[in-house]
Amino acid sequence: MAILEVKHVDFRYGSGPWILKDISFSVEEGERVAILGPSGYGKSTLAKVIAGYLKPAGGEILWEGKPLPATGFCPIQLIYQHPEKALNPRWKMKDSLEEAGVPSEEVLTEMGIQEKWYQRWPNELSGGELQRFCVARVLKPETRLLICDEMTTMLDAINQAHIWNFVLAYAKKHNMTLLAITHNRYLANQVATRILRIPELNHVEVDQSSL
């Protein structure tokens, strides 16, 4: 049975132009799916709709056949492109990392998170280091589907490979499902078992002049 079903999802902000139109696909448990395509096709919006950050204007998202729970630790977690926005600038790294409990020893070691970073502020660490904290805090047994929205686009190739290698190993070991959203086809080929192209998925008129 598909663990995630996206059925005829539409989305727009208020009464603005449609951003997502009639998007349907499903993901099996343990699959690693990449959604590939250039910017301007609503990839990030789709990620937010699936993760429950935004309510679809039409259609539905089913998680194990039911709507996503509104409260409590969400089984679908989303990693953003910009880690510095996903961390409270007024909090020390340790507080952000442990907001929802201390991550497992395995995650902390393999992500290369060092204890001397704990007492630092977010603006004192590099993007690659910040993103490790963001990934580590959601790699918990309760997380069943991880959506990586351009997770490593802002990072250098070494940090990108490091984070992805571990996320892939973790997903295999714990049977966690992955949804990678990216514009980089090499990356999609490397991480995914199945690739969906957003221009074929999203039935919305994209203004070519805005690309």
């Binding site: 950050y53 630790f73 926005k85 996903a86 907001e99 970073w117 004192e124 660490l125 805090r137």
Partner: protein, 287 residues
């Protein structure tokens, strides 16, 4: 990588009194002066400005730096006492006003929809009516006197701060790290206490301090017009109103010194508020 970044971040040296330390000193200095003024007036022996018919309408001298009035009261001590009264009333009414703003602004941002529209309408309404008229109406309606002034000033000064707080709460609520916290299963209580309040509080504090000069000037204004404090209280508004009667007789000091003192004090509040704003503004770290 991080180590390198920190290794290259070093104390820059330069004079001990750098820009930031100066700003901090000005703020502390301002607060000390204002608090001292307030305490001085509170603890002053009323006999200092008691009538003394042997020394009526004296021009400023060393014995009476601000001169004396037609009842022979020392204007210097009366002015200090008046300023102290103004600070106390300002403190109380600015505090009440800011709490109203905090509650309405947060409600407006959190619940949105109809409530937001209603609160937005109230803000516009309150800002649309000339301040002084609204103040006079309210203070008469609640029976005048000190209570009238405090209530009048308190319930007319919340609108602009409400807008600021509403915007700040809305901004932090939609921040990615708050949305992430929600998805990590954090309760609304946790989010409000750990994310939203620490973000909004500094803005609130600056707003509160910048309310003071308004509150004080409006208190003085309605007292001057005779709708405020009872005539026997040493308040700057009353001092100025009485001085009006003697100005034509050449008794300039009766209005001059209390007026200047009031102006200086409100300016001092403005300075403290503005510098505090600079201090908490992240962009100012560059200066």
């Amino acid at each position: 990588m991080a180590d390198m970044r920190l290794r290259t971040m070093e104390k820059a040296g330069g004079p001990f009194l750098n820009h930031r330390r100066k700003v901090l000193l000005i703020i502390i200095g301002g607060i000390v002066i204002l608090a001292g003024l307030c305490l001085w007036g509170l603890l002053m022996d009323p006999s200092r400005y008691a009538p003394n018919y042997g020394a009526r309408l004296l021009a400023p001298s060393f014995a009476h730096p601000f001169g004396t009035d037609n009842l022979g009261r020392d204007m210097f001590y009366r002015t200090i006492c008046g300023l102290s009264t103004s600070i106390q009333i300002g403190l109380l009414s600015a505090l009440v006003s800011s709490i109203i703003a905090l509650i309405l602004g947060s409600l407006s941002a959190v619940f949105g929809g109809k409530l937001d529209t209603v609160i937005g309408f109230l803000v516009d309404l309150c800002m649309g009516v000339p301040h002084l008229i609204l103040l006079i109406l309210i203070s008469i309606a609640v029976g005048g006197g000190a209570a009238g002034v405090i209530i009048g000033v308190a319930v007319t000064h919340w609108p602009s701060l409400t807008r600021v707080i509403r915007a700040e709460v809305m901004q932090v609520r939609s921040a990615q790290y708050v949305q992430v916290a929600r998805k990590l299963g954090m309760s609304n209580w946790h989010i409000a206490a750990k994310h939203i309040v620490p973000h909004v509080f500094p803005q609130y504090l600056v707003g509160l301090i910048l309310l003071f000069p308004h509150a004080i000037l409006h208190e003085a204004a309605i007292t001057f017009l005779g709708y405020g404090l009872p005539l026997d209280t040493p308040a700057v508004g009353i001092i100025l109103a009485e001085a009006m009667r003697h100005l034509a007789g050449g008794m300039w000091w009766l209005a001059f010194f209390p007026g200047i003192a009031l102006l200086c004090m409100t300016q001092l509040f403005d300075v403290v508020g503005d510098y505090l704003k600079i201090l908490i503004d992240p962009h100012s770290a560059r200066q």
